[in-house]
Symmetry: C2
Subunit: 597 residues, 2 copies
C-alpha cells in the first residue's frame, strides 16, 4: 500500500539512483527482480526492485532513465503493481505486450548506454537487449547497494547434510558422473550457480530462501571430479565438510574471481540462460573459453534414483493424510459459509504441521474461492480474503517439503450443499478427462513434454476452451517445486521424458469472475517393461493420493477407460490413505472414494 | 539386376571418375541422388547416382575415394541397394546408423579435400560436412557430366497456364504478397529454386518430372514485386508470357550468373535447406548479402485460398468414384485369390483413367498384400508381385492429380471371406481411433503438427505399439503430394496449422512379415468460428471420401464419440459418392457405409 511517507522516501531513492546513473555517464539502469542465482525466490537482501520502486511482486524489471522510470511486469501483477507504484514517478507496462528492451530502444534513441549489474542478468537476456539495439554497460558494483543503507544481510541459515538415506547417491559419485559428462563434451569445468544444483551435487540442504530448502552459493566442478564450493566456510558443519572429502575445497564467495582466473586457457561450461553474465564475462576476461551449455546437474537431478523415488512415494502417502483430513473438514464445514480462504489455507497448514517430518510448505498455497479461483497465480491477502460461500467452487493448490520428497497437489471442491450446475460439471469433467489422458498414457522412449501437452487439453479444446498455463512442471526431491529441464507444455524444450522424472499433471479451466478448476497430481516417469517388446516404452506412476470431488464429475461424459481409471485411483486412495484417518474423516474418505455411479 | 556386362561397364565408369578426382587433386567426390532443385523426384538427366553406382533408389549418397567407394542409403533401400551394387566395387552403408560425412571424416584422415557439385547440395548439408571435419571443394563442372556420354537431355515438357479458375489468385497478386514479406523482412530479393514454388508463383504447370506437374526452373523475386524466371523462353507459351506482364522477365538458365551478379550490394534470401549451395556461393562472390530464410512461397502456397479449397473438395469427390468402384471390385474379386498386387493397382489406375479430368497419379501407388503391406515404402515389381490371397490384409495407397486438386488416400482391406482375426481387428481399430482423434480435433490458433502427432499414436502406444513414419504431410494444389512447411510429426518444424492447409492424416501399424495397416484421408484446416468465443480455434474438414473396412473394425473398442464419427463419415460418403456408382458397386457402397452394429 502506498502512503505519503513512502512516496517521499521512494522519490528520494529514485533521485539518488539517478545521480549514480549520471555519475556513471549512463542513459539508464535496469533493475530486474533477481538475485545472483536468477531463481524464482530471492532473499530480502536481493529485493532491490522493491526497494527502488515499491513493487513487491515476484517477477518484474524496472528501467530508470534520467527523466522516466518504468516497471514491466506480466499479467499476474498488473493490479498489484498499479496499487504499489507511485504514478508520479513510475510508468507501469505489460512485460509481454511491451517488452522492456524494445521499449527502451524505442524511447531512448540510438544505442543508449544502459547500465546493468552483471550478477543479476543472464547472457541470454543480455543478448536480447543487444539485439534490441541497446549498448549494455556492466557496472562493477550495483549502485542500489551503495544507496541502500539498511540493506538486510545475506541469508546464512543452518546448512545440514542431505543423508544417503534420502539422496540415494553420495556426492563423490554424483561428481564423478558429472565429470564424465564434462570429459565426454571435452570441457574442463562447469560453473554451477543454481542453488538447487549445488544442494543436489553436494547433498546439502538449508533455508536461505523461502519454500526451497537450499543454501545460496556457487560451485565449480572440474573434469577430474574435483569441485570448489563458494560459500562461507563457517556455514558448513564439520561432518558435512569431512563427508565431501579432500577433492572438494570450500572457500568464501570472495575467492570466486581468483578461482575463475585460474581457469585461463581452459574450456568452461556456463549456462547462458540460468547463470549471471558475470561468470562468462569474468572467464572470458581471464582467458578461458566459455562454452554455452545447460547446468550439467539439471538432467541427473531431474531423474530421481530408486531411493529418491521410494522417498517420493513415502512423502506423498504421508502428505495425503492431512490433505484428506482437510478435504473431509471442508466437506463438513464449507456448506456453512463460515470458512474463508485464509482460514482454509491455515487449517491445511496446521494439519501438515502435525506431521513430525513436515519441513514447511513447498510454495505459498493458493486458496481461492469463487472468482478468486479463476486468478491462476492468486495469493490470498487480508484485503482479498473471501469466505467460501455455499454452492460455489473452491480451489486449493498446496505442497509440502519433507526430507524424502516434495509434494504439490491441487483439488477443486464444490462447497455444496446443492448439486453443482451442469455446465460446471461439464467443465470439471473435461479437465479431469485431460488429467486422466496424461495419467493413463504409455509412450515410447524419445517423447517429450511438448508432444503430450495436447492430450490434457483436447477435451476442453473440443468446446473451444483452454487454459493459459503449462500442463506440468518438474518437481525436485526435497528441492524446488519447480524444477527443470523437462515440462509438459508446448513452450517447454523438447527434453525427452526419462525414468525417474517427477512431473506435475495439472490441467485446469478458469472462467474469469466466476471460478477456477485445476486438478493436479504428481507423476513419476517409469519404464513400462510389459509394453517394451519392440522398443522401450514408458508410463506414469501417480504419486499424489486424494480423491477428486465426485459432486463435480459428470459421469455420462466419461469413457469406460476414464471411469475405470477414476474408480481404480479412488480405490487406491482409500486403501492407502484410509488407515491414517479416523472417525468422520475416515467415513468421508470411504464415501469420497466409492465407485462412480 | 546385376550382370557381368554391367559390372564391367560400371567398373569402367568408376575408374574414369577416379581419374577425374585425381586430376582435380581431390581425396574424393560425393554423388547425392539429387537434381538442381533438391526435390523428391529427379529427371533422368540427373540420375548420376544410378549412372555411377547402379543403385536406382530414390534416396542415397555415394562417396568415391581413390581406393574405395561407398553408398549410403536408409532402411527402405538396404535390400535393393545390396542387389544393385557390385560388392567388388561398392561398400553399402546405412545412412542413419553411419552418416556419410562422419564416415568419410573417420576413414579419410585429417581434413580431406572432398569435391562436390554445388548445384546438388544445400548449404545446410555443406555445413554438416564441414562440421564433420571435411574440406569441401566445389567443382565448377560435375565430372560425371563430362563422362556420361549418352546422358539424357534435360526435360522440356509442355508448359501450360494454371488458370485463375483453379489457382484463385493471379500471379501479380501472389508476387505482390511475396514482395510485401520481403519488404517487411528488409530483404531486396529472394531466390526460388523449388519447382513447386515456381509453378505456384507464376501459375504454370508442366510435366518435367513424374507425378508432380511442375516445370524445372529457377526464379528471382524482388521487393518491388518484379521477378525473373529462368527457364528456356521457347517453352513459355505466348499467352502465359503475356499474362505474366512486363514485370516478369523470362531468360534461359544461362542468364542466372549475370542476374545474381546484378544483386551486388543487395540483401538476398536463400533457403539454406532447400536451395543448392551454388546460389548463396555465387551471390556472396558477387558481393550480395545472403540471408538464410525459408522459400517465401512455402507458407502462402500451403494455405490454399477459397478457390483452391473448393477445387480440392471437387477433386476428392471426383476421385472417390473410381476409388469406391475399385474397393467394390476388390470386395467381389479378392476372396477368389485371382488378383495380384500389380493387377489391383492397374485396375485402380484404369478406373481413374476413365475420368476425363485425370492428369495422372500423384505418386507411384503402393499396392501391398500380406507381408508386402508391412514394407512402408513398398513398390510392387514383377519380382515382388504377390497375389492377394483369401483371408489376408491388403493395403492400397494411391493418389491422383487433377487441375483442381491433388489426392492421396490409403485404405486397408480384409480380403475375406472368413472373419478377420481378433488381434488384427484390435490393431486396425487402434489405428482407426488414432485417425479419428486427429479428424475430430478442435484446436486453438498456434498449435503445430508436432503437438498433435501423439493423439494419432496414443491408442497404439497403450499396448506398446507404434509406427515408424509421420502422421501427416502437407499436400499441394495440383502440385506435389508432399508439400511443406507443415507436417503432423514430432520431427516436423513447429509451423502452426493455418486455415487452408491440406494435410494427410495417416496413422498405421506394420507387423513385419505379416501385414501393414494404414488409414489415410486428407484434411483441410478450417476456422472453427462456433468454438472461437474466447480465442480463434481451428478444426479439420475431411476431404477424402471412401469407407473404412467394417470387417476390420472392433466396435467394442470404440467410444461413443468414435462410433458416431465413423457412422457420420460413412453416411457422408454414401450420400456424396453413392450417386456416382451403379449396380453392384452402389450396392456394395450401401453395405460398406451402413451404421456400425
Amino acid at each position: 500500500m502506498r502512503n505519503g511517507n513512502n512516496d517521499t522516501e521512494l522519490g528520494a531513492r529514485l533521485s539518488a539512483l539517478r545521480a549514480e546513473i549520471a555519475r556513471e555517464n549512463l542513459a539508464g539502469f535496469v533493475v530486474p527482480r533477481a538475485d545472483e542465482h536468477l531463481g524464482e525466490y530471492v532473499p530480502a537482501a536481493a529485493e532491490r526492485l522493491a526497494w527502488i520502486s515499491g513493487f513487491t511482486g515476484s517477477a518484474g524489471l524496472a528501467v530508470v532513465l534520467a527523466d522516466r522510470a518504468a516497471l514491466f511486469t506480466d499479467g499476474r501483477y498488473q493490479l498489484q503493481a498499479a496499487a504499489e507504484l507511485d504514478p508520479m514517478h513510475w510508468t507501469l507496462l505489460h512485460s509481454i505486450e511491451q517488452p522492456a528492451f524494445a521499449w527502451l530502444a524505442a524511447i531512448a534513441g540510438a544505442g543508449p548506454r544502459i547500465g546493468y549489474d552483471p550478477w543479476l542478468i543472464s547472457e541470454d537476456q543480455l543478448a536480447r537487449a543487444r539485439t534490441a539495439g541497446l549498448d549494455m554497460v556492466p557496472l562493477a558494483a550495483n549502485p542500489i547497494d551503495r544507496l541502500w543503507a539498511d540493506r538486510p544481510a545475506a541469508p546464512a541459515s543452518h546448512i545440514v547434510a542431505h543423508p544417503l538415506a534420502h539422496s540415494g547417491l553420495d556426492s563423490a559419485t554424483k561428481r564423478a558422473e558429472i565429470a564424465a559428462t564434462l570429459v565426454a563434451a571435452k570441457t574442463d569445468a562447469a560453473v554451477i550457480t543454481d542453488p538447487a544444483s549445488l544442494a543436489w551435487l553436494f547433498n546439502i540442504r538449508a533455508g536461505d530462501i523461502p519454500y526451497t530448502p537450499v543454501p545460496l552459493g556457487f560451485a565449480l566442478i572440474r573434469a577430474d571430479a574435483s569441485a570448489s564450493l563458494f560459500i562461507d566456510p563457517a556455514r558448513i558443519p564439520e561432518p558435512v565438510r569431512a563427508g565431501l572429502g579432500a577433492t572438494v575445497s570450500i572457500a568464501p564467495r570472495d575467492a570466486l574471481p581468483d578461482a575463475l582466473a585460474a581457469l585461463a586457457g581452459k574450456t568452461v561450461r556456463v549456462d547462458p540462460a540460468g547463470s549471471p553474465a558475470w561468470f562468462a564475462q569474468t572467464l572470458r576476461a581471464a582467458g578461458a573459453t566459455v562454452v554455452d551449455g545447460p547446468d550439467p546437474c539439471l538432467l541427473p537431478k531431474a531423474c530421481k534414483n530408486a531411493v529418491e523415488q521410494e522417498g517420493a512415494r513415502r512423502a506423498h502417502l504421508r502428505d495425503a493424510a492431512p490433505l484428506c483430513r482437510f478435504l473431509a473438514w471442508l466437506a463438513r464445514e464449507a456448506p456453512s459459509g463460515r470458512i474463508d480462504e485464509i482460514g482454509a489455507a491455515s487449517h491445511l497448514l496446521d494439519l501438515r504441521c502435525e506431521l513430525p517430518e513436515f519441513h514447511g510448505e513447498s510454495f505459498n498455497a493458493i486458496s481461492g474461492a469463487g472468482p478468486n479461483g479463476a486468478i491462476i497465480h492468486y495469493r490470498v491477502s487480508a484485503a482479498s480474503n473471501r469466505p467460501l460461500k455455499p454452492n460455489e467452487v473452491y480451489l486449493i493448490d498446496s505442497g509440502a517439503q519433507f526430507a524424502d520428497g516434495t509434494t504439490d497437489v491441487t483439488r477443486t471442491i464444490w462447497t455444496g450443499p446443492d448439486p453443482a450446475p451442469a455446465e460446471l460439471r461439464d467443465r470439471f469433467t473435461r479437465v479431469l478427462r485431460g488429467h486422466i489422458a496424461i495419467a493413463l498414457l504409455i509412450f515410447p522412449d524419445g517423447v517429450a513434454g511438448p508432444h503430450i501437452d495436447t492430450l490434457a487439453r483436447a477435451p476442453l479444446w473440443q468446446v473451444g476452451l483452454d487454459y493459459d498455463h503449462g500442463t506440468g512442471h518438474g518437481v525436485g526431491s526435497y528441492l524446488s517445486v519447480h524444477e527443470g529441464p523437462a515440462g509438459i507444455s508446448r513452450a517447454a524444450k523438447p527434453i525427452k521424458l526419462a525414468p525417474g522424472m517427477i512431473l506435475s499433471n495439472e490441467p485446469g479451466y478458469y472462467l474469469p469472475g466466476a471460478y477456477g478448476i485445476r486438478l493436479e497430481n504428481l507423476l513419476l516417469v517409469q519404464p513400462a517393461p510389459e509394453h517394451s517388446a519392440g522398443k522401450p516404452f514408458l508410463r506414469f506412476e501417480t504419486l499424489t493420493l486424494a480423491p477428486f470431488d465426485r459432486a463435480l464429475i459428470d459421469t455420462t461424459q466419461l469413457t469406460r477407460a476414464e471411469r475405470a481409471w477414476v474408480n481404480a485411483y479412488h480405490a487406491r486412495v482409500l486403501a492407502e490413505v484410509g488407515p491414517a484417518l479416523a472417525g468422520s474423516d475416515a467415513a468421508w474418505l470411504q464415501a469420497a472414494c466409492a465407485p462412480l455411479d
